[in-house]
Amino acid sequence: MHWFESELVLLDQLAELYLKSQQQSGTDIVNVSEDIRIKRGRFIGALQSIVNKVVNLNGINACAAYHEGLVLAYAEAMPNIDALGVMIQESVNVTQQSARILKLGDIQQIVIVGAVNKVAMLSVGPVVLCIVCSNAINLASVLSQENEA
């Protein structure tokens, strides 16, 4: 498993821990609140970290994370950041509808390949991680590069 896969697994685990923390019941709302806040902080921190690392890889044009179509984390300057958010939300909505009919299960990845660039969208907990790179790039290979960020 290369570094990106490991980071995604970690991110998934943090997302799951966060979602579980939200389902806690009990009367000790103060401690529950603190626990939820800390777990959300860890998840967002790990998400920002992965975004920062991915954008530093050779061949990656941009990387950002979105929640319901609005930008949640990004690294460095990113042109058309809102347009990308719209594209993600539209794509996810359409795909989810078809996935239900086709019984695909929860959507994990969507890749849109254009003549010039391509966009990969990876679903992680409540957010979508979005990576933009040139059409000619082999994304899996680039993401397995040793990361020095």
């Binding site: 603190e34 929640h67 319901e68």
Partner: protein, 137 residues
Amino acid sequence: MNSNVKPFEIRKTQVSEIDQILRNLMSIQGVSAAAIVDNEGLVTHIHRDFEINTDAIGASVQVVFGAASRAALHVGHHVTNLVICENAEGFILAMPIDAGFMLALVTERDALLGRVRFELKETIPVLKKLFASYLLK
């Protein structure tokens, strides 16, 4: 039999947790003020990193939210969950908590709207519970 001390300690802890939540919201990039406003527009808790007229912000947030709620009702959208004012220099976001209390955030232009909205949406259920138990005491 419970003494009067116990409820006081519970309230104190709840208040400190509310303060911690506001401090956490303030740590988000671009957020310059986080406040809780009561149903009369008075600010009950606030964290901010600039001089702000708390009376004015409290009253305005309630007025804006009230107007937005009525607009939502007029078009059949029922309950208003979030009001976002996009201004030349930033955003003001307001979300209802419970019993007329509201959570209001003031942000700079460079704030990540998705991040702020995500934190707000995730924070409100917890604040609702904190307020529900706080108001019951």
